[in-house]
Symmetry: D2
Subunit: 370 residues, 4 copies
C-alpha cells in the first residue's frame, strides 16, 4: 500500500501571499489553519520518534559500576544509568513514553524514601542482597525477580549484601506522566518508612494467585496489584508448565503476563510486564502493534529483528521495540530455552482504545533484514 | 431485641365471617389477601428450614462402600450417597439450596459423560486414582484436591486405581437451579468425550494464578474459572504462607478462597469454595451471615458451635451451617493445625445483594451451648 | 426430541428388598441414594410448577375496591389483593419466585414506613394521587408510571387524592428472597420518615439518563438505580421514537428496558422491567427462555399464546409466562398500538448464568393453540 | 509549602570534570545519568507548558468566515481554524494534549469521508443546516447541540442550509494519540458513505438514557457511546431540572456529564464532555485537578479566574484550563443563568490513575487576581 498526501481527503493547499498573510493574522490570535499541519498531525500510521535500540550489558555494566565511586547515592537520589533512545533525548525515554535505567547499590547501601506519581517496576539483573520497602512492606528480591512500586507508594531501596553490588533494571512511566501533566513527587517526612514485621508479606498473602485471602486483607480498592513481588522461582516453572500445555503465541513463544491476582489484569494501570520463553531453536513470526516494549534478556541468547534490523542479544542485554514496528524473536540455542522479560504500555493502549495489532504475512512471517 | 407481630407495620387483621367469604371469592380468581400471609412471607429475619447437621464419615464410609456392590455405576448414573438435611428432604438439599453427596468409584470403574445446568465441584476424600474429564480436559485428582465442573460442561469420571476405591464429595447447586426453574440435562451423544492430549492442562496453563497466559488461551469469556483443578499441594502451602503474613479472620482463622485467576472472583457464579486453617489451639469467634455453607474436615479435628449446638468433627466429617445461624470453630489440638474445606452460595448472595453479616458481640464472641 | 429416562446416563435402578433396607439405613444417617431422585431433580428441561395464568382486571377491580371497607390499611400493613399462581400457592408466588398484587389506597389514606430485604416495584393502574416516600425521597406517580423501592430502602405510601382511590400493581421478589433464606423486615422506629424538600428529586437529577450528575450526587455505590421513578410521559415517547428507528425484536416488538442510568443495567439486582409496544396489527413470533415474567396491559388489547394456550387481554389485565414456556403476543387492533409493561427475574438469570433462550422455528414462529 | 531541590531525596550532584567525562562516555552508549535530569523529569507537581488562554469569538468569527473564500473545503480536508496554546505550538494543542478548532462549512457544502484514530466531538456554535454522517448514521445538529465522532468511525460533514454558514467547534485528542504513537488515518474508498434511512437513529434509539433497547440493538461492545448526538433541547432542561433538585458542585455549579447510556461512563474512552450552569449571580469556589479542559460559552456571560488571571467571557468564547491550575467561574448576570459546555481528558486521567483534585481553601475559596 502506498500513502500519498496528494489525494482527496488530505490537505492540499498551496502557499500564496494571501494565505501567508492570513496565517499571520491567525497567529496573532493564538490560532492557525489546520490544513497547514493536518497531514503531519494525522499521519497514515504511527510515526514514532523512537528507533529500535539495543543496549549491551557487557558495555553498560562497567559504566554502571563506575558510578558507585563517582556519586554518593544520597546525592544522586538514586544511582541510575538511564538508557535513552536516540530519538527521545528530549524526554529521557528509552522508547515511546517509557523510561528505563540500570540502578546500582553498593554492599550495605540504602536510600531514603520518596514517592511519585510515576509507576515503577524492577527486574533484578545481578546481586543477592537487594531489598525494597514499598508502602511499609519489605521485599527481598534476587536475580530475575520482578517487583513493582505502584504510583504514589512510598519506597526506599537497599542492598544488604556484604560484598557485592546489586544491579537491577528500573522501568517507569515518567515520560507518560509528564506528557499528561500529572507528575507529583514527595520525599518522606521521616526519610525512612516504618516497616511491617513480615518480609514479602504480599507474596505470602497473594502469591498463590488462584487462592485469595477471604475475610481479611479484603477491601483492596487500589488500581494496582496487591502482590508486589513475583519471584523467578515461581515465574520460570509457570513458563515451563505452560509450555507443556500449549503451543503459545506464534509471535512471542510461550508468554505469560504478570498479573493482578484480584483482577487478572495488568500489574499497574500504566505498565504491563511479561515473561516469555523461546523454546530451543524457536524463531517466532513477525507482528506489529501499537504500544512500546522494553526487553531484558533473562536467560539465554538469540536475536530479534525489529523494523528490518537484526539485534543479537545475550543475558542482561536490553532492547526496545517502538510502536508499530515489525518484530520477531529467535533463540540462538538448539538445546536451551531463552527467556525474555519485558514491560510495556499495553494497559494504556487498551484503556484508551488505542490497541491495534497486525501479523506479518509475507515470507512465512519473517522480515527481510538489511 | 424482641419481635412481635402485634405492632403497627405488621398485619393484624382478625378473622371474621365476612372476611372468610371475601377470601373465598378471591380464591376463585386465583387471588388472595396479602395480609393473611404477610407476616409469614416477610419474616423479621431469615427462617431457614435447614437445621445444623453433622455427618460422621466413620458412619457414612461403610454405607458408601456398600453401594459398590449394591448398584452398578451405569445403572445409578452416578453412585452417590447424598446427604439430606432433615428440614429439606423435599428438595434433597444438604443445607439451603445446596446439594452434597459422597460419590464412590471402584477400581478401574468409569462413567459415561453428561452435562447439566447445575454447577458441580469435587473434594477428594480418599483414593489415589480419581480422574475426571471436563469439556475434553482430563484432570487427575488426589486426596484433598479440589476440582470444578462448571455448569453445562461435559463431564465423566473414573478411578484408574488397581485396587482401591475413590470417594469424593460432590457439591452441586441442584436445588438452587430447580428453584429457579432453570434445570437442563443432556447425555453425551457418544457416551464418552474426545480428550485432549495433556492431563491437567488448565492447571499447567492457569495454575500460577499471578501469571496468566498472554496472546494465547485468550478470549476466555465463560462465567467461570478457566482453572478446573486446585491441588492440595498448592493450597495447603498457600494457607501456611498466609498464616505467616496475617492474623486471618476472627471468625474463620486463616481463610482463602479458591478463585478464578482471570477475575479474582469465585470459581463459579453460583458456588464459592474456601480452605481455612485453624491454628493449633485456635477457637474463633461467632458470627452469622446470609448464605449457606457445607464443610468437609480436610485435616485434624475440633468442633464447631452452630446456632448454640456443639458438633465435634474429625477428618472426613461433613457438616453444614444454615443461613443466619451463629457459628464458630475450634481446633481440638494444641500442636497441629486443623483445615476445613467448605463450599457455599456466597456468590449468589452477593450477585443478588442478599449478603449480610453480623458479629456475635456478647461473651467474648462465644455462644452459650445447650 | 423425545426424552426417555431409560437410557445410559440416567438413573435406572430397580427396587429390591436389599436396596430398600439399604435406603432405610441411609435415612438413619440423614442420607439417601442419589439415584432414587436423580432423574427428578435433574430434569431434561425446566419443570416449573407455575402455570400460565391470566387475571382479568374487570374481575379483580371490584374485589380490590371492596377491601377498602373490609380492612383498615394500618391493620393490613398494606391493603393488597395478591395474585397467586395455581401451582405456587405454597409460596404465594404469581409465577416462579415472583410475587405480585394489586394495592389499593383510599383518598387521603397513608401507610406507615417499613423496609425489607425484598425488592419492590410499582406500576400504577388507576388514580391520580399516589405518592410514595423511598429513603426520604417523595415520589408522585400517576397512571402507567413505573417506580421502584429497592431492597432495604425505607418506604411508605399514600394517596393524596380527595375523591378517588389509587390502585397500583406491586411486584416483589419475596418468594425469591425466602428461597434464599435471606428475608429481613423492619418497621420504622418513628413510623414515618423525614422527607426531603424536593418531590421526585431523583427524576430531576437522573431522569435524563444520557446526562448524569457530575461532581455532586457522586459516589452512588448501591446495587440499584439511583433513579426511582420512570414516568409514562417519558417512557411512551421513548417507545415511539425507538419504533421509528428500529424494527424491534421479532419476539417482543419494540421493547425497552427501564435501566439504571449509571450502569445501563437492570433497575435492581433481582428484578428487571420492560415496556414494549406491539404496533398496530403486529403479532410476534414465539420464543422461550429461562426466567419468569409478569405482564400488565398498559394500553390497548390483544392476546398472547403461552405454552399453547391463548389468553385474551385488555387494559389493566395481568398475566404471566413461566420459565421456558413458549410465548408470543398479538395486538388486536389494526389501528392503535398496544403496550405491555412487564417485570421479570432476568437479572437473576444473568447473574447466576442461568439464562437460555430459544426461538420457535416451526409454523412461521407461531404455536398451535388448543 | 515551599519546594527546594536542595534536600535529601532530590538529586544534588555537582559538576566535575570527571563526571563530565563520565557523562560523555555514557552518551556514547545511548545512556545518561538519571541524576542530571531527575529533578526536572520528576517535578514536585505538574509543570504544564500550556498556559491559560482565552479565545474571543468576536475576534475569531471574521477570520473563520474569511477562510470560506480563501480555501476550498476539498483542498483543506476540513476548513478549520485551530486554536493553539502559546505553550504548545509544537504539537498544535489548545491545552494539554487536546486539540480544538472552529470548523466552517458554507451553505450547501459537504466534505468527503475519512476516519482516524483520534476521537472527535462537535459543539455547534452557529448555523442551522449542519449534518454529519457517522458510521453510516446521519445526524442533524443545530446550535448548542453536542455530537461525537468516536475513534475510527467513518465520518463526513456538511451544511444543508441555503444561505448561511455553519460554525462548530471541533474537539479532538490528536496530540494525545500522537504522543502515544498510535495515529492512523484512512480516506473512504468511495469518498462517501452509504447512509441509513433514519436520521438521528441513535438519538431515537438511545436518547432516553434511562430506557434502553432490549432484545435488539444489543451486543454493543464498542468502547464508546452508542448515542452519537445530544441535543441542547434535552440537555438544557436536564440542567434546569438538576438545579431544582440539587445545589450542584461548589466548584462548577450545576454540572452534568454527557454519558454513555449503556455504561454511565464518559462518551468516549479519551474524551469527556460536560454542560454546566452558573445560576444567576453564582460565583464558584476555586479548585484544581489533573486533566485539561476546554470550555465554550454556550449561554450568557461572566468570567473565570484561572491560575490567578481573570478572563471575561461571553457567548461563543472559548477558553482553557491547564492541568493543576486553580480555577473558578462566575456568572456576570444577576438575572440569567450562564451555561458552559466543556470537554476534557478526564477519562484518561481516571483510566491511568492520574486523577487528583484539591480545593482552594483560603480566602473563602477565591483566588487573588493579579
Amino acid at each position: 500500500m502506498t500513502y500519498s498526501d496528494d489525494v482527496l481527503g488530505r490537505a492540499r493547499v498551496g502557499e500564496t501571499p494571501e494565505l501567508k498573510a492570513y496565517y499571520e493574522r491567525l497567529a496573532g490570535h493564538e490560532a492557525g489553519a489546520l490544513w497547514t499541519v493536518a497531514n503531519e498531525i494525522e499521519p497514515w500510521y504511527p510515526q514514532p520518534k523512537s528507533v529500535p535500540t539495543h543496549w549491551s550489558y557487557a558495555d553498560l555494566r562497567p559504566l554502571v559500576l563506575e558510578s558507585l565511586d563517582l556519586v554518593k547515592a544520597d546525592d544522586a537520589g538514586r544511582r541510575v544509568v538511564m538508557l535513552v533512545n536516540p530519538g527521545r533525548k528530549d524526554i529521557s525515554a528509552a522508547v515511546g513514553m517509557l523510561y528505563t535505567g540500570l540502578q546500582v547499590m553498593g554492599p550495605g547501601e540504602s536510600m531514603t524514601a520518596h514517592r511519585h506519581q510515576a509507576a515503577a517496576l524492577r527486574f533484578v539483573v545481578e546481586g543477592q542482597g537487594a531489598w525494597t520497602v514499598v508502602d511499609g512492606q519489605k521485599l527481598k528480591v534476587g536475580p530475575r525477580d520482578f517487583a513493582i512500586t505502584p504510583n504514589w507508594t512510598w519506597h526506599e531501596h537497599g542492598n544488604e549484601s556484604d560484598d557485592a553490588p546489586v544491579i537491577w533494571q528500573d522501568g517507569l512511566d515518567i515520560p507518560l506522566v509528564n506528557a499528561h501533566d500529572a507528575g507529583f513527587y514527595e520525599v518522606h517526612p521521616n526519610h525512612y518508612q516504618e516497616r511491617g514485621q513480615v518480609v514479602n508479606s504480599s507474596l505470602l498473602t497473594y502469591g498463590a494467585g488462584e487462592l485469595r485471602p477471604y475475610g481479611f486483607a479484603d477491601g483492596w480498592t487500589k488500581p494496582y496489584s496487591p502482590l508486589f513481588a513475583y519471584p523467578w522461582e515461581q515465574a520460570y516453572p509457570a513458563l515451563l508448565n505452560a509450555a507443556r500445555a500449549t503451543d503459545g503465541s506464534p509471535y512471542d513463544g510461550v508468554i505469560l503476563e504478570y498479573s493482578n491476582p484480584l483482577t487478572g489484569g495488568s500489574v499497574m494501570p500504566t505498565l504491563g510486564a511479561h515473561l516469555q520463553m523461546l523454546r530451543p531453536g524457536e524463531a517466532t513470526q513477525a507482528h506489529r502493534h501499537t504500544g512500546s516494549v522494553i526487553y531484558n534478556v533473562a536467560k539465554g541468547s538469540g536475536h530479534s529483528v525489529i523494523a528490518g534490523r537484526r539485534f543479537d542479544w545475550t543475558e542482561g542485554d536490553i532492547f526496545c521495540v517502538p510502536s508499530w514496528a515489525w518484530h520477531e524473536h529467535a533463540n540462538a540455542s538448539a538445546g536451551d530455552d531463552a527467556v525474555l522479560f519485558s514491560f510495556n504500555d499495553f494497559p494504556v493502549m487498551r484503556s484508551l482504545a488505542f490497541w491495534r495489532e497486525e501479523a506479518y504475512l509475507d515470507n512465512d512471517g519473517h522480515q527481510p533484514t538489511n
